[in-house]
């Protein structure tokens, strides 16, 4: 692929380091802020590969909306005291999971290395440039070929809003929840 190797290695190294920090840090707030860095590194890699619309969506939706939601929930629950649950696990279990996943990673990497990649589609970089750029071509595809899934997405979001309000609403008249609002 025609992308700059320096920036790819920089951002992929940053993403791998920060995602390890997400898994291995005690404090959920630290994990959340490392996750923001991972999202920005991913957005940079999308932009390097020419997927400008996806990069913008990544910053807006992931680094913007989803992370704000995470940080708000962490603050709401007062769950930010550092508890390192990783150490309480069985050491043998953790090591065996890590070794299995390393084996799977080796399998993936050899498979990807041996596969052959050929460019078959009509949307080469020059063709996209000629048709008005990544965002325009993507929008024309979205509103012609994928119009039905796009409309169904709105129903999904509406359902999610109703479900979240129904799940997270306080039920004050129920006896089991009389402690709501009291100190933990």
């Amino acid at each position: 692929m025609e992308i700059s190797p320096i920036f790819f290695y920089l951002f992929s190294g940053l993403a791998i380091f920060c995602s390890l920090m997400v898994v291995f840090k005690k404090n959920p707030v630290t994990s959340a802020f490392n996750l923001v860095l991972v999202f920005f590194a991913f957005a940079s890699i999308y932009a390097l590969m020419g997927a400008h619309f996806v990069a913008a969506l990544q910053v807006l939706v992931y680094a913007g909306a989803i992370m704000v939601l995470f940080v708000f929930v962490i603050m709401l629950l007062k769950a930010d005291e550092p508890v390192f649950d990783l150490r309480e696990n069985n050491k043998f279990f953790v090591m065996s999971v890590a070794l299995t996943l390393l084996g799977i990673a080796g399998y993936f990497i050899t498979t990807f290395k041996e596969a052959s990649y050929q460019e078959i589609g009509p949307y080469s970089i020059s063709a996209i440039e000629q048709n008005g750029g990544n965002t325009r071509v993507l929008a024309e595809t979205l509103f012609s070929q994928y119009i039905l899934p796009f409309e169904l997405t709105s129903i999904l979001l509406l359902g999610a809003i109703v479900a979240v309000v129904a799940i997270a609403m306080r039920k004050k008249n129920l006896k089991s929840n009389t402690n709501v609002g009291g100190k933990a």
Partner: protein
Amino acid sequence: MYVEPWLVLSFSAIIFLIGLFGLVVRRNILVILMCIELMLNAVNLTFVTYSTILQDLTGQMAVFFIITVAAAESAVGLGLVIALFRTLRSVDTKNISLLRE
């Protein structure tokens, strides 16, 4: 100025497996949700990479829909975390044993 496609695909596979490791090993439910987001991001990167390699925009359309579903998923998941915390006063998955005697 050329990066081999298998490097990018291996990078996203590594991020996916780091997320899977955290999902299996950690017990804080907020960190588990963050690991799910990591895995979804790795899948998105694989889609965009194949879309670039094969010069086909279908991969980027799939990423558009995955991001929408991920936003809905994390909203519902965090709502469930709030409901769970209200019942159990804890975010540790070890304490979810309501069906046990």
